[in-house]
């Protein structure tokens, strides 16, 4: 079987178009022979930059991404449209749905409400950075085992929120999980399964069926 990926159909699919933009941007950035430190220093200096594209270096999932972006480009757009990292999803683009959640260090934030230029210097983790060498994390496995997704669009955001919670609080209560995940919306409504998955990943005895159904 040699089915081409959907994005390989036609010369100008949306994804290849944006991917090529990212490559051009990366090449352009690399061409400007400048050390990362110097770029960061420039970004942090009090000089006014933009509104045209400027070099921006992001450290995502342990790898440096050298991009050329206008200051107005959000972290989410930088990941999805100027790199090949489409794991973080764009739902509302208004800090409301949580589909774009990524980690800055260990802290979950909405990538749609953060400028890429502000995210320089942070260790950024997207859902692509969770599994190491193809081995799913405990949280990812728990989501699979508990069938904690339906359409799956919100799943990357939930995975980041739950991962961040368990790093900060390895034995959360059901209320802790609800509090940590309140900023993620699952339109399919599989919140009870997500709660079960989070508790199961933490090794906390899953709440009784009744409690889980009464998710509020």
């Amino acid at each position: 079987m040699n089915n081409p990926e959907p994005e390989n159909f036609g010369a100008h699919s949306r994804r290849t178009f944006f991917k090529s933009l990212g490559t051009v941007a990366a090449t352009a950035a690399t061409a400007q022979v400048r050390s990362v430190a110097a770029e960061l220093e420039k970004a942090n200096a009090e000089s006014v930059i933009g509104p045209g594209a400027v070099p921006v270096t992001l450290k995502v999932n342990g790898e440096k991404l050298k991009l050329t972006l206008e200051p107005r480009v959000t972290l989410l757009d930088a990941l999805r449209n100027y790199s090949s990292l489409t794991g973080a999803k764009e739902g509302c683009d208004r800090a409301t749905c949580g589909a774009c959640t990524v980690l800055l260090g260990d802290t979950p934030v909405y990538a749609c409400q953060k400028l890429a230029i502000e995210a320089q210097g942070y260790e950024i983790t997207t859902v692509e950075g969770l599994a190491k060498k193809g081995n799913l994390t405990k949280v990812q496995q728990a989501f699979l085992q508990k069938d904690a997704l339906m359409c799956g669009y919100c799943t990357p955001g939930f995975l980041m929120s739950v991962t961040a919670l368990l790093r900060k609080n390895p034995k959360p209560t059901a209320d802790d999980v609800k509090h940590a995940c309140a900023g993620n919306i699952c339109r399919c409504g599989t919140h009870p399964r997500i709660l079960q998955a989070a508790l199961s990943a933490a090794g906390v005895a899953t709440a009784s069926k009744t409690e889980v159904v009464n998710y509020v």
Partner: protein, 322 residues
């Protein structure tokens, strides 16, 4: 968003200079990017102020605590000592928005956020708050709007930190024209009471530096009611703070959010409660005083009994912490 320039300020002086043209301060960005994406405000330059030194600290002396304007809401929520000393502030912070927003939202930004009125937030509506002629909420969809106002705009203040700071009689220290100006919460929002165009009393270029909270009120409580259990604006919020000496309230203060353009405080209720032993009857009388002049509109009359209940509950919670 329209294109803008970008700069990182390393001192308050340079921040003020940079923002002086058509610039805006950028801290957590939660409110700002919402406004920019809907084209409700415009800026040629965003000045990132998160590197300003000294503004991201929580410090305390004997008589007051200082919370820097760049301290995040999550840091307040997670601060073990704040939870002990100002439980009302902890509870208010914990109910703000979502974890992702609390992680970046700053105290200064929470206080300075713009109206959430859906007519104001709609990019195609030229309402009173946007130099239009008419408040569309007044005869329109006003279920989330004010019971009190000093002008024709009825959008309420939604900062729950402001409500809590008001009950704690906190002072905001604002950098204005290079001078530090001290403002009570009443003063910080008085502009919005008088002027339909204003969201608070801050002028362009003003920068909130820190908030000082006196430790005289050893008890505090905060409650809010929302449509959703989490990640929602309050329909009505209430904060109360007081010291308790020999079972009697000393220097009590009650403030309500989401029912007025300012944190709603009634001095008559505060003085009524002073020296009283808290019970159901006194809490009820205080609530009566606080809501006496409420002017409900077509769709927000439910807020009156809701506010009444939540004032009583917050006051009794204050007592319950004994």
């Amino acid at each position: 968003m329209k294109a803008f320039q970008y700069a990182t300020a390393h001192s308050t002086d340079s921040a003020r200079e940079l923002v002086a043209g058509n610039g805006l301060y950028l801290a957590g960005g939660n409110d700002l990017f919402g406004l920019l994406k809907e084209y409700l405000v415009g800026a040629d330059l965003l000045v990132n102020i998160k590197s300003l030194p000294g503004l991201n600290k929580v410090e305390h002396g004997k008589t007051f605590w200082t919370i820097g304007s760049l301290v995040t809401v999550a840091e307040i929520e997670d601060h073990a000592e704040i939870k002990k000393v100002f439980p009302g502030l902890h509870d208010a912070a914990a109910e703000i928005a979502s974890q992702q927003i609390r992680n970046v939202a700053t105290v200064g930004g929470n206080l300075a956020q713009h109206s959430r009125c859906w007519y104001f937030r709609h990019r195609d509506t030229q309402c009173l708050k946007k130099h239009g002629d008419l408040c569309y909420a007044r005869d329109g969809e006003n279920r989330y709007h004010s019971l009190f106002t000093g002008n024709s705009c009825i959008s309420p203040v939604v900062s729950s930190l402001a409500t809590t700071f008001a009950a704690l009689d906190a002072t905001a220290i604002v950098l204005r024209d290079g001078q530090e100006t001290r403002m009570s919460m009443a003063e910080l929002y008085h502009g919005a009471w008088e002027n339909p165009l204003a969201h608070n009393s801050l002028d362009k270029g003003d920068l909130i530096l820190r908030v000082e909270i006196p430790t005289t009120r050893t008890r505090s409580a905060y409650l809010q009611v929302s449509d959703k259990h989490a990640f929602d604006w309050a329909l009505v919020s209430c904060a109360a703070a007081a010291a308790v000496v020999d079972g009697k309230l000393k220097s009590p203060r009650v403030a309500l959010g989401s029912i007025s353009p300012v944190p709603h405080q009634v001095e008559a209720a505060n003085s009524f409660l002073d020296g009283k032993v808290l019970d159901d009857a006194t809490a009820t009388q205080a609530a009566d005083l606080i809501l006496k002049d409420a002017k409900p509109l077509e769709h927000n009359a439910y807020k009156v009994p809701m506010a009444h209940a939540i004032i009583r509950r917050t006051l009794l919670k204050l007592k319950g912490d004994a």
